[in-house]
């Protein structure tokens, strides 16, 4: 790694050639925020069109391009990279390591992302338009019937997949090899644990996704018929492969979010996490179960009844470890000394809204009832409760929690709280009514709807504009903090926070833990 104790290089080359986990983490975080804004813009177009019945702003075909790109950009561009950014910043600091285990690969796994997304976004300007088959890209709509831009979509999925796989290998290698002496597995902070498990999920399922898109590529260009019934293939096979990736994927998104909340809630409750070991086991249980529940997305494809029953029971079972997590967080708060700084507000917001999303998940797991819920707005409401109020709220909480540590400057607390309340209200006004229209019979992915759904859709759109606008406040607050926030020099920053990162100076120097810290023998996990 060259000579020791040097600072960052100057100018653009610092960012292009960096192998420093903090720099790479920062780039991931900014990149994912940019994607969050892009995906959010698509969402605003969707909600503007759905503001009233009738077609007003866009054509149905373009509407489908918007829903597709919104989903893809949010899942692969905003949520996943944001947590990788967090992992880069925090894992070495939490386990007492000087950097990630594979720093050059780390640089590469970030830098292939922007071209990947550029390729995806460029499809908007191609003949026939961008992909318009939904983020789940079911064949044959995404093969025989897709616009020519689908080939670019396939390659961009490959690129994102390679990036994720390299990122996860790096995280696994770091956690297994770089822990400071005395940092046993069962002393690792929960954020590290959840990422450790997530990384294994990623390594297991991203190649499956790559396989699915490669089969599409073959069907489109090389005359195979994996998914074409006319050639002896099977369109349902596509769905099995997609969801074998897709269901673990939703846990890839949520497990690191669990990790964040498990750091924040004890800190602001000034009380250790209620059941550290059971949290670790519950995370592992969720991860293992997530491989055997994929067909709960396919209850209506016409599986044999034995298959339906198996997937129904397995899915219901996931509610048990999920419940264990929720009970644990609540018990951690119980008889703590709570205070409500912005990170805590977002974590409590997560806890309440994620739990609601878990309940609707349990309802959806009931196969016969899912015949009525499937592919309606009820499902849209469910997954936004778990992915936005779950993953995004938790990510927001993380930024407020660690930003003072990273920058040595304090964000504006009042503005943070305002951001929370606008987000919380905006989110619920957007998504709660979607449960109603879904149950009343509104299908998802439609550009127009019957008149009885009009009022709730208008509410949803207004909520979405409010939630969207509140992100500008967030951006402003973060930039203002970095540029001119009040300085903090206390190592601890938050009085209740625990973990090695809080033993480092604030802000931490460019290189940290070049000499491994000594971990005391007592179990002092967060």
């Amino acid at each position: 790694m060259g000579d020791h104790h040097h600072g960052p290089a100057k100018g653009l080359s610092r960012w292009l050639f960096t192998t420093n986990h903090k720099d790479i983490g920062t780039m991931y975080l900014w990149f994912s925020f940019a994607m969050f804004i892009l995906g959010g813009t698509f969402a605003m177009i969707i909600r503007a069109e759905l503001f009233q019945p009738g077609m007003q702003l866009v054509e149905p075909g373009f509407f489908n391009q918007m829903t597709t790109l919104h989903g893809l950009v949010m899942v692969f561009g905003a949520i996943m990279p944001s947590f990788v950014g967090l992992a880069n910043w925090l894992i070495p600091m939490m386990i007492g390591a000087p950097d990630m285990a594979l720093p050059r690969m780390n640089n590469w796994s970030f830098w292939i992302l922007p071209p990947g997304f550029l390729m995806l976004a460029s499809t908007l300007f191609m003949e026939g338009g961008a992909p318009a088959f939904g983020w789940t890209f079911y064949a044959p709509l995404s093969t025989t019937y897709a616009a020519p831009s689908v080939t670019f979509f396939i390659f961009s999925i490959h690129v994102l997949g390679v990036s994720s796989i390299m990122g996860s290998i790096n995280i696994i290698a770091t956690i297994m090899n770089m822990r400071a002496p005395g940092m046993t597995y069962m002393k690792m902070p929960l954020f590290v644990w959840t990422w450790f498990i997530t990384a294994f999920l990623l390594v297991a399922v991203m190649p499956v996704l790559a396989g699915a898109v490669t089969m599409m590529l073959m069907d489109i260009h090389f005359g195979t018929s994996f998914f074409s019934a006319a050639g002896g293939g099977d369109p349902v096979l596509f769905q099995h492969i997609f969801w074998f990736f897709g269901h673990p994927e939703v846990y890839i998104i949520i497990l690191p979010a669990f990790g964040v909340v498990s750091q924040v809630i004890p800190a602001f409750s000034r009380k250790p996490l209620f059941g550290y070991a059971s949290m670790v086991y519950a995370t592992a249980a969720i991860a293992i179960l997530s491989f055997v529940v994929w067909a709960h997305h396919m209850y209506t494809v016409g599986m044999p009844v034995a298959g339906e029953l198996f997937f129904m029971y397995a899915t219901m079972l996931i509610a048990v470890p999920t419940g264990v997590k929720v009970f644990n967080w609540v018990s951690t708060m119980w008889r703590g000394a709570l205070s409500f700084e912005t990170p805590m507000l977002f974590s409590i917001g997560f806890l309440v809204l994620f739990t609601i999303g878990g309940f609707t998940g349990l309802m959806l797991s009931i196969a016969p009832a899912d015949f009525q819920y499937h592919d309606t707005y009820f499902v849209v409401a469910h997954f936004h409760y778990v992915m936005v109020a779950g993953a995004v709220f938790s990510m927001t909480s993380a930024v407020y929690f660690w930003l003072p540590k990273w920058t040595g400057r304090m964000y504006n607390e009042t503005m943070g709280k305002v951001h929370f309340w606008i987000s919380f209200v905006g989110f619920n006004v957007t998504f709660f009514p979607q449960h109603f229209v879904g149950l009343a019979g509104m299908p998802r992915r439609v550009p127009d709807y019957a008149l009885q759904f009009a009022d709730f859709n208008m509410m949803s759109s207004i909520g979405a504009f409010v939630y969207g606008a509140s992100q500008i406040l967030f951006l402003y607050n973060v930039i203002a903090t970095i540029v001119a926030g009040e300085r903090v020099s206390d190592e601890q920053v938050w009085d209740g926070a625990e973990g090695l990162e809080w033993t480092l100076p604030t802000p931490p120097p460019y290189h940290t833990f070049e000499v491994p810290p000594q971990i005391e023998a007592s179990p002092a996990h967060g």
């Binding site: 016409g302 029971y313 264990v324 739990t355 016969p368 015949f371 109603f436």
Partner: protein, 374 residues
Amino acid sequence: MSIKKSLMTAGAALSALPMSVLAQNQVNMSPGVTRVGAEIYDLHMLIMIICIVIGIGVFGVMLYSIVYHRKSKGFEPSQFHESTKVEIAWTVVPFLILIGMAVPATSTLLEVYDNDDAELDILVTGHQWKWRYEYLNAEGENVSFFSNLATPQEEIYNSEAKGEHYLLEVDEPLVIPIDTKVRFLITANDVIHSWWVPEIAVKRDAIPGFINEAWSKVDQEGIYRGQCTELCGSYHGFMPIVVHAVTQDEFQGWMSAKRADKAAQVAASSVDLSLDALMSEGEAVYQTQCLACHGAQGEGGVGKAISGSSIAMGDIGVHLDVGIKGVAGTAMQAFGAQLTDVEMAAVITYQRNAFGNNTGDVVQPSDVALHKQG
């Protein structure tokens, strides 16, 4: 509630829609008009209520903490953690509750899957973007027809007020008898669709190359509306389903009328029609079948322009070929089976004479019949 009210007032001010038609806002699943639908509804309510009760418990504890266990009130944090007893309890109790849910869920599911002993079989085929229904009949000929969105483009594009069943109305509904176990055999012609009518509790994917089964036994006469629920391309939102459930007598009457219609159609295709008659029929067919892709003025869109088209102004045989057989690998589908010979003749004539194409050509039903024979 007050937030909702004020939002709605704001909405009303912004909206050009008559608020009177937006009166009812259904917020829950409907039990519908079948026994299975009612069971599903009960299951849904049961699970939802269990979730709400657990939710009240969890959120209640949390709220208590938030209110009373505050640092600002000087509350001293206790440091308790780990309790094997508690942890076993909150693993085992939810597990038992889940078993309680799984029992009724399993029995309802088995019922949903009991496709035996149907008294009437209907083949449902999803097409981009319409449904085709075929009554499979052991004695005598099958009856079949397409069911298209009937909402006019003017309503969709806001130049006319929207009707009561905006987007949920078709030119020809599916008709089924009540108190009869009807089995739906569901498939698709192009991409995956999904056939859903909430009130009769049927949702099943329509997958090319597969035939899925579902059934329903409707208790009450009435009109039940649904939509395609699997994204199937641009006009996914515009392929509704309308089911008329009628008494068995009415059903038999309807069936005989359909058969008579079909015979009449065969007879009609040997009669020549005037240019005017063909043009007015052709315009109607164009608007339901062609307009979505080829544009109101024949200007094109998803499909090519008709106005000035070398096919619509060139050889009649090629034009008929495109209409009847479609163009493989494109959104232009084969209309040969969906349109009667009269309709096909009319729409081809219309395309050759409308939008400034003034070729003066007249295509007769007999020409279509002849072309189809090769």
